[in-house]
C-alpha cells in the first residue's frame, strides 16, 4: 500500500500535466467561450512554469512566482516558435508538448524525491 504522503506528493506533482489535459479537452469541446480563453491563458502562462519550478530549490514566494511566469512564458514561447518554424503550428500540438514538459518535470521530481527518501 502506498503511503498517503506519497500519494499526495504524486497528485501535486502531476497537477500541472493533468490541468493541461483538461485544457486540451476544453479547447476541443468548449467552442468560443470565456472559460476556454481563461483556461488556455492560465495553463500556457503558468502550467509548465509551475511544474519546472518545483524542481528548483527555491523557497521565496516572490522568486517562485516570478520564475513560474518567466519559465512558463519561455517554454510556451519556444514550443510555439518551433512549431511555427516547422509549419505545424496547431494549438493542440503546442498544448501536448507543454503537457509532456509538465509530465517530464513531475516524473523527475518524483524520481528525485524517491531517490532521496530511499
Amino acid at each position: 500500500m502506498i503511503p498517503s504522503a506519497d500519494l499526495r506528493r504524486l497528485a501535486i506533482a502531476l497537477t500541472p500535466a493533468a490541468a493541461g489535459w483538461v485544457v486540451l479537452i476544453i479547447t476541443a469541446v468548449a467552442g468560443h467561450s470565456v472559460i476556454r480563453a481563461v483556461a488556455v491563458f492560465a495553463f500556457v502562462l503558468v502550467g509548465p512554469g509551475v511544474a519546472v519550478v518545483r524542481l528548483l530549490p527555491i523557497r521565496d514566494v516572490l522568486e517562485r512566482g516570478v520564475l513560474v511566469l518567466a519559465l512558463g512564458l519561455s517554454l510556451a514561447l519556444l514550443t510555439a516558435e518551433a512549431t511555427a518554424i516547422s509549419h505545424i503550428l496547431r494549438p493542440a500540438v503546442v498544448l501536448v508538448v507543454l503537457i509532456l514538459i509538465c509530465s517530464a518535470a513531475a516524473l523527475t521530481e518524483l524520481a528525485m524525491k524517491g531517490g532521496r527518501s530511499s
Binding site: 480563453a37 500556457v44 521565496d60 511566469l69 512564458l73 519561455s74 514561447l77 516558435e81
Partner: protein, 651 residues
C-alpha cells in the same frame, strides 16, 4: 566618530552585516512610539512594570492597526476617485487635446494619484513590514497609470501594437517565413513573441489578438515590477528601500515599451535573468545574500548548475524574440563576469552569446544579410546615435516642447537621485557591503556601450535608459534610505513625498502627453477595418504617415507608402505639388489613400511638415477632382485615384 562631516549613526559593522534586517524595526518603533498616548489619571496607582509593558505593547498594536486601516482606507479612496474620474472623461477630446490625456483627465484623477503617493510614502517610511499594504499601493498605482487608457479607449492604442497583431495573424495562417522581407520582414527573423501569441489566440478561440492586446500594457507593468523587487532584495533587506525602488521604477518608466510587443516580454525575461544571477550566483561571503537559494555557496555544484540551467530557456526565448535585448543581457552578464561579481563567470555569458549568435545565424540571417549597411551605419558614433531623435524645438508645437522637457527632467532627476543614493549608501555601509553595491553601478552602466553601436531607429538613448532604469531606481531609493538606521522617518517621508510627486508630473507628461497620437477613435478603427475588408490583395496603401491602425490583418497582401518618409528631394517636391505627387504614386492600381485624425496629430506633434500643411493637403486632394472618396466619416477619409477622367480624355 564622524565621516564627511556628518554625525555617524551607523551601528557597528557586525551589527549591519551579520544581523538580518536590523532595520526597519527601529523605524517602526519610532513611528509607533508617536502614537497618541492615553492620559492616565494621577489617582491611579502606578502600574507594575509587567502590566505597564503590556499596556504599552497594546497601545503600539492599536496605533499600528490604526495606521494600517488608514493606509487601506486611502487605497479605497484612491480607487473610488479613480473610478469617478474615469466616468468624467470625454474620451473623444483626447484626439485633439494638446497634452493628450493630461489635458482631459479631471481633477479627481490627479487627486487619486496624489493621495496614493502620500499614502505610500507614509506607509513605506513608517510601516514597511506591512508588505501586503505596500504591494496593494504598487498594484493600484500600476492600475491607475496603465489600465486607464485600456478602460477609456475601448480600442487598442499605439499603431505599432496594431502591426504586431498583424504579424500574429500572418503566423496563424502561414507559419514563420524567415525570407519574407518587406516592411514587416524583421519580425519574421525574431518570431518568438508572435508565435506564442498565435498559439494563445488560436487555442483560446479568441480569433484575434485584438481581443486582449489592450490589457497587456498593465499586465506587462505588473510583470516587470516582480523582478525589480527581487533585484532590490539582492542588495538590501531594508523593505523601505525595496518598495521605494519598485515605486520609483514605476513612476520613472516613461519610455512606453510596455505595450503589446516583443520587447516588453523580452525585458521581463531580461530582468528575471539578472535578478536570478545576482541572487543565486553571488560570490561567497556576500553580506546581503542571506535568503538566496545559493546559501552562500553551501549548495552543491550540481545544484548550482541545475539553477543555471533553469535560465537557459529564458535566454533562448530572449535571443529569438527581440533584436536588442540579447545584446543588453550579454553586456550585463559580461560586466558582472569581468569584475568577478558572480559565479559561472564563463558559463552564463558564453551561453547567452552562443545562443544569440546561433539564432542570428539561423533565424535572422536573411534579414541581417539584406540590412547589413543599415546595421553598421552608426557603429562608433555614440553622440550621433544618442541625438538622432532630437528635433529642433522651433519645428514642434509648444505642447510637445513641454512634454520633452518633462521627460528630460524626469530622466535627469532619476540619474541625479541614483548618484546621490549610490554615494549615501556607500557612506553608511562597511567595505563588504560597499563592494556588493558596486554591482548596481555595473549593471546600470552595462547598457551604455549600445550607444556606440547603432541608433536603433533613433531610439537607442531611450532603450539604454530603460535597461539602466531598474538599477537607477534601486540606487535612487538609497538616496532616501541609505541605511536602516539613517535619517528621521518624518523628514524622510516628506522629502520622499515631494520628490515622488515631482517625478509623477514628469511621468504623466511623458506617458499621457502624447495620447492624441496614440489614441485611435472607434471611427478611425472603423475606417481602417473598411480599408482592409475592401482593398484587394496586391493593392498599394498610402498614408500621410504610419500612425493609424494598420497592417493588423493580411499584412503580406499589401505594399505601403507613407508620405512623411519620402526621402530628400521627392519629399520637398511633394510639399510643393502634393496633388500631382500623390496621383503619380497612386497610378499603381488598385491603390488607396487613407487620411485620419491620428495621422494629423502625429505630423503636427513631430513637426514633420510645416504647420497647416496636413489640412492644406487634405483640402487640395479633395478639391482637385482627381480623387474620389470611397469611405468617409466625420474625421477620416479614404480616397482612390479617379481614373474616369483619364479614360474620358483618352476617348
Amino acid at each position: 566618530m564622524q565621516e564627511g562631516g556628518l554625525p555617524d549613526r551607523r551601528p557597528p559593522p557586525e551589527a549591519v552585516d551579520t544581523v538580518p534586517v536590523p532595520a526597519v524595526t527601529e523605524a517602526y518603533a519610532r513611528a509607533e512610539d508617536k502614537a497618541p498616548t492615553v492620559p492616565v489619571p494621577a489617582v491611579i496607582e502606578p502600574l507594575a512594570p509587567a502590566a505597564g509593558e503590556a499596556l504599552a505593547a497594546r497601545r503600539r498594536t492599536w496605533a499600528a492597526r490604526r495606521f494600517d486601516m488608514a493606509a487601506c482606507g486611502c487605497l479605497v479612496i484612491c480607487l473610488t476617485l479613480w473610478a469617478v474620474s474615469l466616468a468624467d472623461v470625454h474620451v473623444h477630446d483626447v484626439a485633439t487635446a494638446g497634452l493628450g490625456l493630461v489635458s482631459v483627465l479631471p481633477v479627481t484623477f490627479w487627486t487619486a494619484l496624489g493621495v496614493l503617493t502620500v499614502s505610500f510614502c507614509a506607509t513605506v517610511t513608517c510601516r514597511p513590514r506591512r508588505w501586503p499594504v505596500l504591494a496593494g499601493h504598487v498594484v493600484v498605482l500600476i492600475a491607475i497609470l496603465h489600465a486607464t487608457p485600456a478602460i477609456l479607449y475601448g480600442t487598442l492604442r499605439y499603431s505599432w501594437a496594431w502591426k504586431h497583431v498583424g504579424v500574429i495573424d500572418y503566423i496563424i495562417h502561414n507559419g514563420v517565413n524567415f525570407n519574407l522581407g518587406g516592411i514587416l520582414g524583421p519580425y519574421q527573423g525574431w518570431p518568438g513573441f508572435f508565435a506564442l501569441n498565435s498559439t494563445l489566440t488560436s487555442a483560446s478561440g479568441l480569433g484575434s489578438a485584438l481581443r486582449y492586446a489592450q490589457w497587456v500594457l498593465p499586465f506587462n507593468d505588473l510583470l516587470w515590477v516582480g523582478p525589480v523587487i527581487l533585484i532590490a532584495r539582492a542588495f538590501t533587506s531594508d523593505r523601505r528601500l525595496i518598495w521605494t525602488a519598485a515605486w520609483l521604477f514605476t513612476v520613472s518608466n516613461w519610455i512606453g515599451q510596455d505595450y503589446f510587443s516583443p520587447q516588453a516580454l523580452a525585458y521581463f525575461l531580461y530582468l528575471t535573468v539578472i535578478a536570478i544571477c545576482i541572487r543565486w550566483f553571488w560570490v561567497p561571503g556576500d553580506p546581503v545574500a542571506r535568503d538566496c537559494p545559493d546559501g552562500r555557496s553551501r549548495r552543491s555544484r550540481s545544484t548550482r548548475y541545475a539553477l543555471a540551467a533553469a535560465l537557459l530557456p529564458m535566454m533562448a526565448a530572449i535571443a529569438s524574440s527581440h533584436q536588442l535585448t540579447p545584446f543588453m543581457l550579454i553586456a550585463a552578464l559580461t560586466a558582472l563576469a569581468l569584475f568577478r561579481e558572480f559565479r559561472h563567470r564563463v558559463l552564463l555569458p558564453v551561453a547567452m552569446t552562443v545562443t544569440t549568435l546561433g539564432w542570428l545565424a539561423y533565424g535572422a540571417r536573411s534579414w541581417l544579410g539584406a540590412n547589413r549597411s543599415q546595421l553598421l551605419q552608426g557603429l562608433g558614433l555614440p553622440w550621433a546615435n544618442a541625438s538622432s531623435h532630437v528635433v529642433s524645438e522651433g519645428t514642434v508645437p509648444p505642447d510637445q516642447v513641454i512634454i520633452d522637457w518633462g521627460v528630460r527632467s524626469l530622466s535627469g532627476a532619476m540619474a541625479v537621485l541614483a548618484v546621490v543614493g549610490f554615494v549615501r549608501y556607500r557612506r553608511h555601509h562597511t567595505a563588504r557591503a560597499r563592494r556588493s553595491w558596486w554591482r548596481i553601478a555595473l549593471l546600470a552602466g552595462a547598457s551604455m556601450p549600445a550607444l556606440a553601436a547603432n541608433s536603433y531607429g533613433g531610439e537607442i538613448v531611450f532603450r539604454v535608459y530603460l535597461f539602466a532604469l531598474p538599477f537607477l531606481a534601486v540606487a535612487a531609493a538609497a538616496a532616501f534610505f541609505p541605511h536602516p538606521r539613517a535619517g528621521r522617518p518624518s523628514w524622510t517621508a516628506l522629502v520622499l513625498m515631494g520628490t515622488v510627486l515631482l517625478l509623477s508630473v514628469g511621468y504623466s507628461l511623458g506617458n499621457f502627453g502624447e495620447e492624441s497620437v496614440n489614441y485611435f477613435t472607434p471611427q478611425e478603427v472603423a475606417a481602417s477595418e473598411w480599408l482592409y475588408r475592401n482593398a484587394p490583395p496586391g493593392a498599394l496603401l498610402v498614408g500621410a504617415d504610419s500612425n493609424f491602425p494598420w497592417a493588423f490583418v493580411h499584412y503580406n497582401w499589401y505594399s505601403y507608402t507613407f508620405l512623411d518618409t519620402m526621402p530628400g528631394s521627392s519629399g520637398r517636391a511633394f510639399l510643393r505639388t502634393p496633388v500631382a505627387t500623390v496621383a503619380n504614386i497612386m497610378k499603381h492600381y488598385p491603390s488607396y489613400l487613407i487620411l485620419t485624425t491620428s495621422q494629423a496629430a502625429e505630423i503636427n506633434m513631430t513637426g514633420a511638415w510645416p504647420a497647416g500643411e496636413y489640412s492644406r493637403l487634405t483640402h487640395d486632394l479633395l478639391s482637385s477632382g482627381k480623387f474620389r472618396v470611397v469611405y468617409q466619416n466625420a474625421n477620416d477619409v479614404i480616397l482612390q485615384l479617379d481614373t474616369s477622367h483619364d479614360r474620358s480624355e483618352g476617348r
